[in-house]
Each structure stands twice: as structure tokens, then as C-alpha cells.
Subunit: 722 residues, 2 copies
């Protein structure tokens, strides 16, 4: 079947960023300059022009900015996302007969005969008066698309071309000024323009989604009195200390009532004693419903919208939240959608659980293992819709109390379509809410959760300890297409994972893994105080579980142990805050080192050159029109000027061997560092303050386990050789 | 907004092949086994199953075949395309609770306590009677989806599980046979199955689209009498000779009347003498309309539906076509959509051309060059729709006369949407018609023409003469995604292109380029007799135009020159026909050689192993049901059995230096050749018949310009060492 309009000759293909054919929005961060590229071409030799159309969902009209031609029919343009939430963009491209004519006329003029020049006298005629007349017609048409003084000026230029054509000069000069060309370019003929076959979507998060430093602690272990269960008030006391270490997100495991049936004892023993507190992830105790009713009335039912009575009241929670904010941090709650047998949903909504033929509810199991203290929710329930609503309302409940960050426990064991709906629906009202996916599973499933809306994701970093593993994993996740939707958050430890390298690496392993986490990615976290106190004993050899894990019992930590890594953590977080290069993942680049125990990588704020000049932007910025399903374009182009801040360039070198000094030669990729060949440059180790003068690409490093890494800031240039 | 059904937990992503998000069908050939792959996964730990649905457009129902799980959540299945034309495929995947239950039960049984075994006596109980009861329920549900004996048998299996559960044995054994499991698997519960979000399309061409050998000649140069213009009857005389060389497509430049205005003289001179014949691409002479009226009445108007009177009549054409077919070949016509000033369209449809302000029609020009004998068609004409209809009717006219192959001249200077419509609309009635795109332009435009329906494409081969150029270009076009839609046709020369390597390489350059063309791709062509007679003189130094080009004058060739390359061409085409490896492009693989002047590559019919067994196929082949927008499935699975023919493996080694002997060591990638490490194997040079015994990967070759290449057939194995 013929198209309605067969004369739209331009093709637009391969628009980037584009995830899963546009089903999934690409993720960006507030203030980002978003580069859009595509292949754009037409038949024949006519000139093509193109522009990018973009808008925030709240904008009534599209903004537009001209695209710049790159080699091989690629085009690009960029714009700055100045608001969080949903954006759309699309492209428009057209054969531009005026632009074609300008180039064509220049070629004719260059080839015209010149009676005064014997070498050019006999060249064939180039029909220049006719070409000038054609140009005048094109300018008349352009004028008809303009208004006011622009229209009058365009008509006057057309008239001057006609006059020139009538003069029958023997040698012609190019008749238009750059300003006149630019004026005409502002009124292109878009009647046959191609519009990309789809509008693509972006989701823009606030800056903390990109750059964040998480600290996880168990509130019940924060009491200064070993005989007492810790409370929110105890946590409050620690806030200045945590903030001083430089963390900006304090993350608490579930704060809800803990089930009694099949409660786990210390070290995950199957039976609990009467004083055992159980696992905070065995959520729910309907017996605590009435007693702990919150200020909003009947919402506190002993489940996911309730607070464990030993931690405090809703008033205590509100005071803690305010104190966290006052300390310049945010509070992250842990949302674990599973129930203890005592959870109120078990009685209220038995249809949300899977029942066995004997009438019992199916508990979690992975034969032969049984987890009888946990009932999973059945996402194939006939009342899936009611279940979804209730789960969403759990987030909404805490959002309404002021929480803006959630760490979601095992999201990969809940239906993926649920997350897509739940997060989108929460973001519709609260686009500033961040969701961290705690999914340690297969790559496609982890990526799928990110595509369904999770802001950040736990990663395989915890298990990537060899240089080749680190390089290949981060080469994958720090580059498109993965980086277009997946934002990593690196954890050297969690309450579930005491990696073998920390068990056996001695004290040196902790700084090494910490520095990697804090510099490989812009977001990282630690589970403390276990981490800074170098807690390293496993439940048993070969296990990744901690001995005396806080998941099952209260621990008391000596936060002021002189061997604590708190000073290093504090320094690292200062370095992260002072160096914008460490606040983004995209520039990560590995540099070869001739020692397999040393890994070297850089990050920088160096930008690829702006693909268009501001003058070029302004030349087309007046274009305004509506065509083919695209709303009228606003007159203003909002391409941000390039940042004037000096580039920040960081080179990290880490000894991965916690037992031995390692040394080697780094073969720097100087281009990635903004350093010219043979240039002399200053590198300052931000961990020690020591400066070195380096020159050219090959440089020697030696790292002892007691000083496991360099974090160099590279300053350009102290001078150049030769 | 919530989905209508929130319980479809399985995700299907990254379906391959898929071009431009399914906008463009992937191209395959009759008899191909089409492999479809995707990432398929769900939340949690339940087992997922998946199947491929596919149909030819003429099939009333979908066929289905089960998919096989590969590592990392990838799945694949394949089917054989047994008809040309349009096919569709999609995927369906679901959480399979019965499959999950089987695996779960096996784990329970492996972990059950055994009173007779002291080591296992105290293991915790595994609730096996309950598990058996759950299995019985699942089998009851399965039975409800079956009919007749299957339903009865499934119910009986369920009953036996219940009986076993009631027995209260102390040690249980797995209760199902493989056949019982397979029976249940034939009736999966698809009520919550996910169907891929789109149906993807395939276009299947006949075999000649993949494997073809083209011979181009100018009919007007075929007269045995130098004083006479050649005719169709003269071409007829040559057919046995051309067929004997092994060609299967005879391609003629335009056969239409040639314009008189601005007719070009010999060597592209601007003025023609009274006896000059002009260029066949300056199409149309309305003065010849009535005189040459064809058998279908008024259709012969002196343009694209007319025959140049000096070539013959329609009756002569019909006789030639029949003779071409009788010689086992097909006839390809050249469709060049451009007009001489004398073309009847110029008067009948002045609105199809661009008019200049002085009233004249815009001729072709690229300032300062003018091509006044050619009027391009204006695809921005207000009557674009009428123009499209008429252009399409040109193809239809010749299709109706029996032509099934077209070489399209400069398609990249005609609007791309036109080709998409024109080819699809012609293919709707005649899916066996092949279109070769003669576009030498930028990569995106060339690829875009293929996406719009062109069967084969001219390539950059003509200019790729260095080893690195050849390797990188064919690595690009012989692999997905390009190979999914772009089929190359390699030409060492054309009437427009006498490459410098043929001008300066001496006689050795011709066999070298010929062998490369005939073995790098399954389709190739030569412009003869210029090629086999090693015509190498350019119009002037630096030009790629032939001196005394046949485009502008009649040439007389001595086809029986003893130096003709016809014997080599004959041998090459015999080798191509006898070796299926050379009849497809996909297996092309380059092998390193330690000499930059020697290129080595292999092609083979070795297949990756079938991803499922026939038994597995049959197990699920009875599945039949309709669900969620997918039409009812036919009961039969049509996965073809693997071919039983022995694999055909060809290794080509070419000396790219026409002036000197070159020698070197090939480092064979043995896996690509189906040879084991350390194996001894026979290589037979199909150009000489000489056999060599090779072993292991490193082998020495020396090639003199007079014997520029080896085409080895590799025979497995003569024995193995050690």
C-alpha cells in the first residue's frame, strides 16, 4: 500500500540512546547533556538537514535544536535535562533545497569562465543567471514561511538576486552573506520532512541517583548499653559520626515487627530461644497491630506499615528521619515483600499465598532447604491486582512519611511486570524517589529490573576480585547499552555476603575492596560497622555468612576501635565529593599494567568536543512550525553552553594482592587523560598528598599491601618537553 | 496503568533475527534452516519453557516447535523455510509448574531420609507424600487440557501418584517414566504465557537469489559482422557459449530506444556523429513509438516498455528469452529510471520533471558537470503517485513477458520510499522476482536499499584490493546484522568501472580478481567479453572509464582469442556448482597468513549442532492451543531433520600481488574447517587437481602470479597422528 505522502525522502535510522526499540526509557541524570545520534540520509545528492525535538512531559511544546552532520551519514545533537522525570525526544529531517542551492551556486561560480583570465576564458558557461533566478524563487518561498521584518528581508534578498541575474555580468561573485544564509535557514520547508517513526523516552533522576555513598546498619545493634535493644533514638546519636565519614544515605534493614513462628535463632539456627530477636526480614506480627497503631489510625497492622516496637514509635521514626536530613543525609528503608507466618496479610489475604493440598501455606523452600519462617507472596494469585495495590501502598505509606530512598530486597523473586507498574506509578507522583535493587542473579534478570524502573542495582562487584574479572565486568556495565539503563552500586560486603577475599585477605583486603568500590562506581555502600572494623570471621569455612550474623542477633560494636577504617573511609568520601570525575560512571577507562595484580583506571570530566557551535545553534533557533504529528516547536533552543570548569581527571591504581608488594609499569592511554604525547604532568596522590612529575605514557608504580592504592589527580601540564 | 493480566511473569527480549525493531524483514533463502534466538526468563526459580511459532503468510495456522535453553537465559529453536515469500514468527514462553514440580521432586527424593542407611537415617523429612499429591493435582489439570486417550492416561498417572502418596512408604522412588513426563509436557498450561510483543517477518527468496553467476554483455556488440548492429538473434547464437562458461544469469544493459537530443558520441564526447548509436542509458525516443508497437497494442511508446528497433522486435525478444531459459539461464534486464529528452514521458508527463524558471527541463548535472542527454525524474512531483504507478508498471510489463530478474540502475538516486512500495507490491504477485541494486554510494544508503527489498546489491568489492580492506569489508557484510538483509554480488569490472588494479596489474590481475569475486561471495558477475579478454585500457590515465567504452559505441570482440580467460571462468563456475560451501556467504572466515599479500579464507557447510533432538521435538509436537492473540497452533512440528550430506569445506588462498611470487604460512583456524588438532587431512586444489597432505594448523603456501590462487577442498581425515 502506498504511503499517504510518498515524497518524504529522508530516512532516519538507529536513533541512540534507544533501549529495546524504545520500550524502555534511557536513564539520565539532572543536568546531563544528553547526546542524541542517528543515521540520517536521503536518495541522491540533495542536502539534508535535521533537528532534534525534545520536551519534558510537563512542557506544552517541543524544543528544537539543529543536528550536526558527522561522517558517514551520522548526525548528532544534544540538550540539557534541567528537570527530573519523564522526557521525550524525536528527530525531524528534510531535504533542504535552499542549502543545496547555496552549495550548487558556489560550485558554479568556482567553475565559471573568466574573460580576463586566459586559463579560464574558455570554460563552458555555468548558467549563473538562471541559477540566481532559481535562488530568488527559493527565497520567495522562504519568505512566505516567515513573518514581519524577516519576511521583508528575505523578499529583499530575493529581489537583489533577480537584479543580479538581470545584470548579465560576465563574472559573478557569491551574492549572499553568512547572516543572510542563516536567516533563510531559520525558515526551512518542512512540508516533506521525515519525522522519526517513534518518540523515544528518557527518565531523568536527581543527582543522588548517580552519586551516592551508602551506609547500612542494624538499628537494634546501636545501643550503647549491651543489655538493651537499640532504638531509633540510638541511631540518632550516631548520625553525626556517620555523616562525618561522608555518607549521604543511611540504610536500615527492615524496621517492622518480626514474626514468631519458626523464628530463627543465632547463626540461623532453626529454633530461637525466648530472648532471640529473629531476623528483621521475617516480617510481620499481627499481634502487634493494635498496640503500635500509628498516627494515621488503623494503618499499623503489624506488617510492612508498622514499626518494630523495640525500635520506637512513629514519632521516634519521624524524629530520626528529620535528624538524618539535618545531618545532610537521606534515610533508605528496606522493602522486603515476604511475610512471616504471623504477618497480618496471612489472615487478611490468604489468597495472596500458595496453599498446599493439606491446607497449609507454602513456605519458602529450595529442596532440600526449608525456610519455614518465610511465606513468599504468590504473584499468580487470582487477586494479583489487589496484591499489587497493597504492595504499592507500602511504598506510598513510607513516601508519605518523607522517605525518598528504598532498598528493595530480592526484587527478582517478584513478578517483573509488577515492578514496572509499581515504580512507574509511584514515580508519576514522586519522581524523586530512588529504588535500589538488591538482586544477585543472572545478568538478564538484573538488567531487566533496571529496565523496569530500579534506579540503582547491586552488582557482581562483590565477587569480582581478579583484575581480568574487574576489567571485563566494568567494561560491560559502564558502557552503552548497559549504562543507558543500569546504574551500579558497589558493596564490598553486605549482611549476606562476607566474601572469601575479606575472610582470608587480612586487614589489607578491606582498604583494597573499599577503594575499588568507592572509585570504580559513583555509587557504593558498606555494611557497617562490620566493614570498618574488618569483621572477617565466617559462620564456617566456605560460607559467605558472617559468624554471629546481625541478621539473627544483636551485636555490639566498638565503633571507636583505633584500628577502625573510619579515617580512610572519611578521606575517600572527601575525595569523592571533591572530584567530579568520581561522581559519574561513564568515563571509566582501564589502562594496561604489566602486572596482573595491579589494576589501573581513570575517570574524568573531559567531554568530547561540542558537536555544534553556539552560533550554529542560534542560526536555527528561530525555527518554529508544526508538521506531521509533531506539536508546534517553541522558538527557543535550550542547548546548554559547555561547562567552563577545568576538567577533573583521576587515575586510580590498586594492588589486588593483599599479601605482597606489587610493582609494574602502567601504559597510560594519554588521550583519555587529556594529556598530549610527551607532555610533563603532575599527579597528586589524594590519599597521601604526595605529588609526582610524570611524563609520557609509561610510568612505574609500586604498592605495598599497607598502602594498597594510589588515587591520583592529574593536573595539566607543568610544561612540555622539547 | 496496570496491564490487563499481571500474571504473565515471563519476559522475552532480544529476539534475533530482528532488523530495525522488526520494521524490516530478515532475508533468508528457500530451504534454509532459520535459527531464532531470544533471551527468555522469569522472576524467581520456577522453570520456564518456550516455543517458536512460525507460519508462511499462506498458512492458515501457526506451526510451533519447542525452544531449547542455552546458557545465560538464551533460548533457541529453528525451522526450515520450505516456500518463498513472506513468513512470520513469534515466541511464546511460560512458567511451567509441572516441569518445576518434576525437578523439585527429584531434589526431595535425593535428600529424603533412609532408615536403612545409617548415613541418611537422620536427614530431615522432605514431605514427599504432600509433593506427590501436588503432582497429582498438576496432572489432573494437565488432563483437563488433553482429550481422549491422552486425557485418560494423564488421569491415570495422577491416580497412581495419589496411591503412592497414600502408601506412606518410608523411601520413595521417582514415580514417572520419561514417556509420562513427555505426555504431560504436550499439554502445558499456557493461560499465563507471554507472547513476544511483536510478530517478526522474514522474506524468503529462491535459491538463485543467494547463488548466482552473472554475465553482462551489450547485445549491439554481438554481431559477427563488424558492419552490423548486433541483435537479439545474435545474442541467441552466443547463448550456448555463455552457458558453457557456467553462468546462470545473462544481463543486458537497457534494450530501449535511445534518445537523439544531446546524444553522446564515442568516448563520451559531447556531440555524436550521424552514425553514433548513443548510450543505452539515455532511454526513450517517442518517434519510435508507433513503428515498434508491441503485441500488447499501444504499450510500446518508445520508452521503458519499448525495444530498440535495431535489437529486434518483441517476437525476437520473446524468442531470446525462451532460448536463455532453454540454455538453463535467466535473463536480467536493466531498469534505469531516467529519460532522454526524447522520452515520451517528457511530453506526456511534464510534471514528472523539474522545470527551470526559463521553462526548460532540468537535466542531470553535478556542477560544473552537465549531463544534458539525461532528464532525472522528480520524486517530489505533485503527481508522485502517478509516477510511482508508471515506474512500477515498467517492471510489471517485463514480468508479464516472463522476465524474473532485474538489475536496477542507480536506485540510490530515486526516493527510498518508492522502492519499498514498488518491490513489495511486485513481490505480492511475483515473489520469485529478483532485484539487483546497482548502488555505489555510502554504506547507510546501500544498506537501506537492501532493507527496502532489493534482493542483491553491488558492493565496494571492486575497490577493495588490499588484504586488510578485503578482510574488514567482508567481515562486515558476511555477518549479522548486515547479512540478515544484504546479499552481496561482486563484480571485478562493470562498463562503468575499470579499476586501476586491472589497468596496471597486467594479465595476472584478472584471474586474481575473478577468483576473489567467485569465491568471496556466492553471487558474482563479470562484464564481458571485456573481462575475459582482459580489456585494460582506460579512457585516460586516472580514469576508471574504458577507452572506447561500449557505453557509447559498438565494439567487436574476438571471443575466441586464445588468451581468453573463458577456460578459467568455466572451471571456476564448475567448482562453484560442485561445492555447496561456495553457494552461501555466511560461513566466510578469514585465516591469518604471515604475508600481507596473501589472503586466505574458508567457507563450509559445517553446521552448528542442532539445538534439540528429534525426540525432544516430537515430545512437544502435539501441543495445540490458542492463546492471547496467537492463532490456534497446528499439531505438526515442521523442524527439518539435519542434512545427511557430508560437509563441504573449501579453503581459498589468493596472492594479491599480480607482479611477484608470494609465500607464507597460513595459521588455520582448524575449528572452522571441522579438523581436529593434530589431525592429518587432505587438501585438493580444485584448480589443478593436485592433492596435498596437511596436518595441524600451520601450513606453507607459495603462489606465483601465473597461478595466483589455490581453491582447496578439504577432505577429512586421512588419519590422525599419535
Amino acid at each position: 500500500m502506498k504511503p499517504a505522502e510518498g515524497r518524504t525522502r529522508v530516512v532516519i535510522e538507529h536513533i541512540q540512546p534507544q533501549i529495546d526499540c524504545g520500550l524502555v526509557p534511557a536513564r539520565r541524570f539532572l543536568g546531563d547533556r544528553v547526546a542524541i545520534s542517528a543515521a540520517i540520509f536521503s536518495d541522491g545528492h540533495d542536502h539534508v538537514l535535521a533537528r532534534l525535538l525534545y520536551k519534558h512531559d510537563s512542557d506544552p511544546e517541543w524544543h528544537s535544536t539543529p543536528m550536526t552532520a558527522l561522517p558517514n551519514d551520522l548526525w548528532s545533537a544534544d540538550f540539557t535535562v534541567d528537570r527530573i522525570g519523564p522526557w521525550s525526544f524525536t528527530l525531524q529531517a528534510w531535504v533542504d533545497h535552499f542549502d543545496t542551492w547555496c552549495a550548487d551556486l558556489k560550485k558554479r561560480l568556482a567553475a565559471q569562465p573568466d574573460p580576463a583570465d586566459p586559463a579560464r576564458r574558455d570554460l563552458p558557461p555555468q548558467d549563473i543567471p538562471l541559477a540566481l533566478t532559481i535562488g530568488a524563487l527559493l527565497l520567495d518561498q522562504t519568505a512566505s514561511r516567515a513573518k514581519g521584518p524577516d519576511a521583508r528581508q528575505l523578499k529583499s534578498i530575493a529581489a537583489s538576486l533577480r537584479a543580479l541575474a538581470g545584470k548579465k555580468s560576465t563574472v559573478y561573485e557569491y551574492p549572499l552573506t553568512a547572516a543572510e544564509e542563516a536567516l533563510a535557514a531559520r525558515y526551512p520547508d518542512l512540508s516533506l520532512a521525515t519525522v522519526a517513526d517513534r518518540e523515544l523516552r528518557l527518565w531523568v533522576d536527581r543527582q543522588r541517583a548517580r552519586f551516592s555513598s551508602w551506609y547500612e546498619l542494624f538499628p537494634r545493634s546501636t545501643s550503647s548499653d549491651p543489655a538493651r535493644h537499640g532504638t531509633f533514638a540510638d541511631v540518632e546519636v550516631l548520625l553525626p559520626e556517620i555523616a562525618a565519614m561522608g555518607f549521604d544515605i543511611l540504610y536500615l534493614p527492615p524496621i517492622h515487627p518480626i514474626g514468631r513462628a519458626f523464628r530463627k535463632g543465632p547463626n540461623n539456627s532453626a529454633t530461637a530461644g525466648p530472648d532471640d530477636e529473629g531476623s528483621p526480614w521475617a516480617i510481620g506480627d499481627a499481634q502487634l497491630a493494635d498496640a503500635r497503631s500509628g498516627p494515621t489510625g488503623g494503618r499499623s497492622e503489624g506488617g510492612h506499615k508498622s514499626i518494630h516496637p523495640k525500635l520506637g514509635t512513629f514519632a521516634d521514626f519521624d524524629r530520626l528521619l528529620a535528624a538524618v536530613h539535618a545531618n545532610g543525609m537521606e534515610l533508605a528503608l528496606d522493602i522486603a515483600f515476604q511475610c512471616s507466618p504471623d504477618h497480618p496479610w496471612v489472615v487478611q489475604h490468604p489468597d495472596w499465598f500458595l496453599h498446599r493440598p493439606d491446607g497449609s501455606i507454602q513456605y519458602a523452600e529450595n529442596p532440600p532447604k526449608k525456610y519455614q519462617d518465610i511465606y513468599p507472596l504468590n504473584f499468580e494469585s487470582a487477586d494479583w491486582s489487589g496484591l499489587w495495590d497493597e504492595l504499592r501502598s507500602v511504598f506510598q505509606f513510607w513516601i508519605d512519611r518523607g522517605v525518598r530512598v528504598f532498598r528493595v530486597d530480592n526484587p527478582h523473586t517478584k513478578a517483573l511486570p509488577f515492578w514496572q507498574w509499581c515504580i512507574a506509578s509511584l514515580h508519576a507522583d514522586a519522581p524523586d524517589v530512588l529504588f535500589l535493587a538488591e538482586a544477585f542473579t543472572r545478568p538478564h534478570v538484573m538488567y531487566s529490573l533496571a529496565k523496569r524502573g530500579f534506579t540503582q542495582s547491586y552488582t557482581y562487584f562483590t565477587w569480582r576480585t581478579e583484575k581480568s574479572e574487574i576489567e571485563s565486568y566494568f567494561e560491560e556495565i559502564a558502557r552503552p547499552p548497559i549504562s543507558d539503563f543500569f546504574t551500579p552500586n558497589l558493596w564490598p560486603n553486605t549482611p549476606d555476603i562476607l566474601h572469601a577475599s575479606l575472610q582470608t585477605g587480612g586487614r589489607a583486603a578491606f582498604p583494597q575492596r573499599l577503594i575499588l568500590a568507592a572509585t570504580l562506581a559513583a555509587s557504593y555502600g558498606i555494611y557497617g560497622p562490620a566493614f570498618e572494623l574488618c569483621e572477617h570471621l565466617p559462620l564456617r569455612p566456605g560460607s559467605e555468612e558472617y559468624l554471629h550474623s546481625e541478621k539473627y542477633q544483636i551485636r555490639h560494636w566498638d565503633r571507636h576501635d583505633p584500628n577502625s577504617l573510619a579515617p580512610l573511609i572519611t578521606l575517600l568520601n572527601q575525595v569523592r565529593r571533591a572530584n567530579p570525575a568520581l561522581q559519574s560512571d561513564l568515563s571509566l577507562h582501564f589502562h594496561p599494567v604489566d602486572n596482573p595484580h595491579i589494576v589501573a583506571y581513570s575517570k574524568s570530566t573531559l567531554q568530547p568536543p561540542t558537536p555544534m557551535t553556539l552560533a550554529e545553534v542560534q542560526a536555527l533557533s528561530g525555527a518554529h512550525d508544526a508538521h506531521r504529528g509533531v506539536a508546534p516547536l517553541s522558538g527557543a533552543s535550550s542547548t546548554a553552553p559547555a561547562s567552563s570548569a577545568p576538567p577533573n581527571v583521576i587515575l586510580v591504581v590498586v594492588n589486588l594482592d593483599p599479601h605482597n608488594e606489587q610493582a609494574g609499569w602502567i601504559d597510560l592511554d594519554l588521550k583519555q587523560l587529556g594529556i598530549a604525547h610527551d607532555e610533563i604532568f603532575d599527579v597528586e596522590d589524594l590519599l597521601t598528598g604526595i605529588h609526582y612529575q610524570w611524563h609520557d605514557r609509561s610510568n612505574y608504580v609500586a604498592l605495598h599491601p599497607t598502602a594498597t592504592a594510589h588515587i591520583f589527580r592529574i593536573a595539566r601540564p607543568q610544561g612540555t618537553r622539547g
